[in-house]
């Protein structure tokens, strides 16, 4: 729907609808060229521009101003939904609000790109060369993606070559835009592995350096026959591939234009299933001194360092609360982060779990029947005495008096949260204590990552029987998202084995997980168990 609107808003597809793609693309190129020409020659060569083109140029201006107009209400939608996300909500309200917020962000991203494109087409972009630090530029671009990457369990690494001069002169803003786009795509289309940003020096003379920046991912890759289209797929979002790559077409098209305007080049090397390397290459003027006047301390640091995430596994959090609703709210709030969560309904169960497993942090309710939160913490600390372990404990309590606080700390708790907890306060405390790098809380609201769910273990190598075991665990934990993925995996196995009965029931399980229907899921899982047993016996 958005796509059609965009085309119509530009006003060029009305005539081009039945034309072949090539024609349409030529037409865009024509518009872009025309815009540039018009800007530089001030209307010279008007003969070949014709009436249609001036209409398009007008509509470009309309789109450009409209995009700004759209941003104002968008701002309100995103701003207020973001604020609401920070307030205590029921899980159902939270889910709905996340949809609004996520859709708003997607729309804004699209508008931003449309705006860039129209500006480009109407020649509003001039040359903005500034002195800048390439290292700082890359670090900043990487930082904006760290949070999303972490959620997906991805590492972002930077390998900066010593040969590339750190201080350069060029169009930093355009470079930033291009690099941000490439990184955004790399993170979006990689589910496991690493995204690496690499710099290298291709050529150098007295005054300039030809610098290449590569963004290497281990993502889905791009089929060979589609590579050319990737950079010019602005109007091709209709077909299947572009649906998958939605948002890329617009961005990469602009990246290419930007690189061309800087006299640089952009390209991609890709192996489907293994990953892609998007690279840009541009000649920049060398700059002797630090243009930032010591604003950055990076010059003292060792270069070619790796700034990858230190996490080898997801942080684990245990939620101890006798109230099921309270537990589920905490789970819901934390589910936006790449955190593994386990629940215990009282102190005794918590201690049992803690004797077996290791956690990074415990959210502990104080008032619980049987062993209360204070006593549970005391016992935990006593058991930790002989080891050098210290599991972080955060008290969750409705009573925030200094006296209670003191008792909590004396019992060996590390931090204190008052009920009702808000997503922000909970995430802030959890993230601060677990000590994630690139502290997100100062720059981003915790809602930033809601579209991304914690990464699941790689299931492709699992057997059907293993999958069923995992499915049972997921069902018990009420983790329907994981259950759905497992069901999909069983479906794939069944497809390979040409077992239609198994496939049908795997689909039943998947459908049940999508609609969060545990009764139906249980039934489907039981059938799958029986089917699997039968095939094994045969």
């Amino acid at each position: 729907m958005i796509i059609r609107t965009t085309e119509n808003a530009f006003g060029w597809n009305r005539q081009g609808q039945n034309q072949k793609r090539g024609h349409t693309m030529k037409r865009i190129k024509h518009i872009v060229n025309k815009g540039e020409r018009q800007a530089s020659q001030n209307g010279a060569g008007g003969r070949d521009l014709g009436k249609n083109d001036s209409r398009i140029s007008n509509s470009n201006r309309v789109v450009a101003s409209m995009s700004h107009e759209i941003r104002t209400p968008m701002n309100a939608i995103l701003g207020f939904s973001g604020l609401l996300l920070n307030e205590p909500l029921t899980p159902s309200q939270l889910v709905k609000l996340r949809f609004i917020h996520g859709a708003g962000k997607r729309l804004l991203h699209l508008i931003d790109n449309v705006l860039d494109f129209t500006k480009l087409a109407s020649g509003q972009y001039g040359d903005f060369s500034v002195d800048f630090s390439i290292e700082r530029l890359i670090t900043q671009c990487v930082d904006t993606q760290t949070f999303t990457a972490k959620e997906k369990g991805l590492a972002i690494e930077t390998e900066l070559s010593n040969a590339v001069p750190e201080f350069l002169n060029g169009d930093e803003n355009r470079l930033r835009h291009v690099l941000a786009n490439l990184l955004d795509n790399a993170v979006k289309f990689t589910s496991t592995g690493t995204v690496t940003v690499k710099t290298s020096l291709e050529d150098e003379d007295e005054e300039t350096a030809l610098v290449r920046i590569s963004v290497i991912d281990t993502g889905i890759g791009i089929p060979k026959e589609r590579i050319d289209e990737i950079f010019s797929s602005f109007l091709q979002l209709d077909n299947d591939l572009d649906r998958e790559y939605i948002g890329v077409g617009l961005g990469l098209d602009i990246c290419k234009k930007f690189m061309e305007m800087m006299g640089g080049t952009i390209g991609v090397i890709s192996v489907p299933g293994q990953g892609s390397t998007f690279w840009i290459s541009v000649r920049l003027k060398k700059q002797e001194s630090n243009p930032l006047d010591g604003q950055t301390n990076s010059s003292n640091q060792v270069r070619s360092s790796q700034t990858s995430s230190p996490y080898t596994r997801m942080p684990r959090v245990l939620i101890v609360d006798d109230d099921r609703l309270c537990r589920s709210i905490s789970v819901e709030y934390l589910s936006s982060s790449a955190i593994e969560i386990k629940e215990a309904c009282d102190g005794a169960e918590a201690l049992e779990i803690l004797a077996e497993e290791e956690f990074d942090l415990i959210l502990m309710d104080i008032l619980m029947p049987g062993i209360d939160g204070l006593e549970t913490t005391r016992r935990l600390r006593a058991s930790e005495k002989s080891t050098d372990k210290h599991t972080l404990v955060v008290a969750l309590t409705a009573n925030s008096s200094p006296k209670v606080r003191k008792t909590c700390l004396e019992a060996g708790m590390d931090e204190f949260l008052t009920k009702p907890v808000t997503p922000v306060s909970l995430l802030e405390v959890v993230h601060r204590l677990i000590g994630w790098p690139g502290d997100h809380s100062s720059t981003k609201s915790p809602s930033e990552g809601y579209e991304n769910q914690p990464q699941m273990p790689d299931m492709k190598s699992l057997s059907c029987e293993d999958c069923l075991q995992y499915a049972l665990v997921a069902l018990d934990a009420g983790n329907f998202q994981q259950l759905g993925k497992i069901a999909r995996n069983i479906g794939n196995i069944a497809e390979k084995d040409d077992n239609s009965l198994l496939k049908d029931n795997a689909f039943r399980l998947e459908m049940a997980s999508r609609s969060l229907n545990s009764a139906r899921a249980e039934k489907a899982l039981e059938r799958l168990y029986n089917l699997n047993k039968n095939t094994v016996e045969v």
């Binding site: 059609r4 949809f99 649906r243 998958e244 049908d504 459908m511 999508r514 609609s515």
Partner: protein, 138 residues
């Protein structure tokens, strides 16, 4: 409790329709035409066929125009004919009358265009007798 199948490749659109229908019954989700056809078949085989299907047209793999005849064919194969079949409401961003006419030829009962409103979806459901006027108590 009614059973609804919502077929849309965009989770957001599907969830929205589900939010309208949830007071009236239970919603299942399919993400393309192929999944929709399988879901309809399995529901009949399980003896609890869908009361209504909300079917998007523009979807990857199998679109709504292909899914609709396939759903009717599946029902026929399983011995469900004519008005006994599930009610199919097309929910699509395509406003052109050609798509609308085509869909009715293919066997849909109703056609709603996006952006959809709660009133529009519920009205169609009432017209088709899928839901009663009042929200059922629990």
């Amino acid at each position: 409790m009614k059973r609804f199948l919502i077929v849309d490749d965009e989770d957001l659109c599907g969830e929205l329709i589900a939010a309208f229908l949830e007071p009236y019954g239970q919603c299942d989700y399919a993400h393309n035409g192929q999944e929709a056809v399988t879901a309809v078949r399995l529901a009949i085989e399980d003896g609890e066929p869908y009361d209504a299907v909300c079917l998007d047209i523009m979807m990857p793999e199998m679109d709504g125009h292909h899914a609709l005849p396939a759903i009717r064919k599946t029902e026929e194969k399983l011995g469900i004919m004519g008005s006994d079949g599930t009610k199919v409401i097309m929910v699509t961003a395509l406003r052109e009358s050609t798509h609308c006419i085509k869909s009715f030829h293919e066997g849909c009962e109703s056609y709603v265009t996006k952006p959809v409103t709660e009133a529009a979806v519920l009205e169609k459901m009432r017209e088709l007798g899928v839901i009663a006027d009042a929200v059922p108590a629990n």
